[in-house]
């Protein structure tokens, strides 16, 4: 079978064993607390006291570190620098150089946004590293998500790598016929059609066959479905979820009071 598109790392850990919904609520709790909290330090504390230790618990700290470095540090750094330099807020100028005059407020605002983005993306990275996509989908389907959604998500994760491989083949084939993909601007626009055409038409042709195939397997059946794999949902999971909701509510209160 083709490799799935996913960040998931198979490890035997306490975090992997948690119910997918618990990990999903953990992710959203981190994001909500990070964005709702009225203090500047919250997001940073969440990273160092929450997400980072959890990545050690999940035994994915190396992968977490590299994924965050690759996906997140450039983005958060860019946002911080741009906001610190260009946000026209505040009056206390730190220094003035050419057109740049960062103020204390713009620096603080840039720090706040960058750390919030950091929390948002890195809590998702942690979730994805420790949760298998089909496990998450079958748990959510068991809880009442329509089966069609699970089909769409799981099969998309399979189709995307196939499609990318197909795109690479088409690019190579057209180049070998002399298609110019690096020339002038108009040549490159012209190259779009012979690349996109075969890719799109080729993949759309399969749609009809696949529709017939899954209909023959009871895709549209409305009967109650059974599950091949049981996914654990322990009392610990439920306790964690309830306390996460409490944490978010407390943050909301703190925001309203200040």
């Amino acid at each position: 079978m083709q490799e799935r598109l996913s960040l998931y790392i198979q490890r035997d850990s306490w975090l992997h064993a948690l119910n997918p919904l618990t990990k999903l609520s953990l992710t959203f709790a981190f994001i909500l607390v990070g964005f709702l909290s009225p203090w500047y330090w919250t997001a940073l504390v969440l990273v160092f006291a929450g997400i980072l230790p959890l990545s050690f618990f999940g035994r994915v700290q190396r992968e977490y570190f590299w994924t965050a470095l690759r996906l997140l540090v450039p983005v958060a750094g860019f946002i911080f620098i741009m906001q610190a330099l260009f946000l026209p807020v505040g009056t206390q100028e730190l220094f003035r150089w050419l057109i740049f005059h960062p103020t204390r407020e713009s620096l603080a605002q840039g720090f706040l946004t960058a750390t919030r983005i950091f929390v948002m993306v890195s809590s998702f990275i942690l979730f994805l590293l420790t949760t298998h996509p089909s496990e998450m989908m079958s748990d959510l389907t068991r809880r009442g998500l329509p089966g069609q959604f699970a089909y769409v998500i799981v099969s998309t994760l399979q189709i995307i790598p196939q499609m990318q491989a197909k795109a690479q083949t088409i690019i190579a084939a057209q180049r070998s016929r002399g298609l110019d993909t690096e020339g002038s601007y108009f040549k490159r626009i012209g190259a779009l059609v012979p690349l996109v055409g075969p890719l799109v038409f080729g993949s759309l042709v399969e749609v009809e066959e696949r529709a017939i195939a899954i209909e023959a397997r009871g895709f549209t059946s409305t009967r109650q479905k059974t599950f091949l794999r049981e996914i654990k949902d322990s009392p610990i999971d439920r306790t964690i979820r309830i306390s996460l909701v409490g944490l978010v509510l407390l943050t909301l209160l703190a925001k309203l009071w200040r």
Binding site: L5, S6, F35, L71, L72, P74, V75, F78, I79, M82, Q83, L85, F86, L87, P88, I99, Q109, G110, T113, R116, I117, M120, V121, F124, I125, L128, Q148, Y151, V152, I153, S155, T156, L157, I159, I160, Q162, M163, Q164, K166, A167, T181, R188, I189, A191, L192, L195, V196, G197, L199, V200, F201, S203, L204, V205, V207, E208, R210, A211, F219, T220
Partner: protein
């Protein structure tokens, strides 16, 4: 409610993953060709046209959610924008704006308008106006000249989005025209893609004129009305 259900037949459910993969694959081809557009919602527009607005909405949202969940979580917060693109494309198609290619230009503009309106709050509240995309330099420049955050973000998006979304709509239209009628007829709304006959050149001028007027209206009428 019943008509929504009719839009989601098995063909629609099977088309959605393929459309999402088309979004991703074409987006990457465009990056490879170093073109100054994204073109990462052609599949979404395609679904919106032949399966209706709600299917388009779902495709767009799932496209960004899946891409965010599997590859780059930075794409995740923008899922409402992608959804609006599919929704607007579907509504335009239902109104008959995908029946000839000069009308598609106008659809492209409306799609861009939807993307700008839905993207601005995310950009402003989540990122404080400056996001990770390259067009943030324009936003930063506008803010330096004394414009408010909302105004700067809106103006930037109005500069960037129409070109991208009009090309997207045109490409999606070209793809639908390339499909066989028998194939399109299996989807819930094949009538949206039926072509009208007409004489080309005058229509082209009408379309370009209409797009220019719409862009000017957007820049000079809507933007100044916004609260500073």
């Amino acid at each position: 409610m019943n008509s929504i259900k009719k839009d989601f037949n098995t063909m629609t459910w099977v088309l959605i993953p393929v459309a999402i993969a088309i979004n991703v694959a074409i987006g990457q081809i465009v990056v490879l060709l170093k073109l100054p557009v994204y073109l990462d919602s052609i599949g979404t527009v395609l679904v919106g046209v032949i399966c209706g607005p709600w299917a388009g909405l779902l495709t767009g949202m799932l496209s960004n959610i899946i891409w965010g969940l599997a590859v780059d979580p930075n794409a995740l917060p923008w899922f409402p924008v992608a959804g609006v693109i599919g929704l607007v494309a579907g509504i335009c198609a239902n109104l008959g704006l995908f029946k000839s290619w000069w009308k598609v230009l106008i659809s492209g503009f409306f799609i861009a308008l939807g993307a700008v309106i839905s993207g601005t709050p995310i950009s402003v509240y989540l990122y404080g106006g400056i996001t990770a995309s390259g067009s943030s330099f324009i936003t930063a420049y506008l803010m330096q000249t004394g414009k408010g955050v909302v105004e700067a973000v809106l103006s930037t998006n109005f500069l960037v989005e129409p070109v991208d979304k009009i090309s997207t709509a045109l490409l999606a239209f070209a793809i639908i025209q390339g499909l066989s009628q028998r194939f399109v007829a299996r989807f819930p709304r094949p009538e949206n893609a039926q072509v009208e006959e007409g004489q080309g050149r005058t229509q082209l001028f009408i379309a370009i004129g209409a797009v220019v007027v719409l862009v000017l209206i957007a820049i000079f009428v809507i933007v100044p009305l916004l609260p500073k």
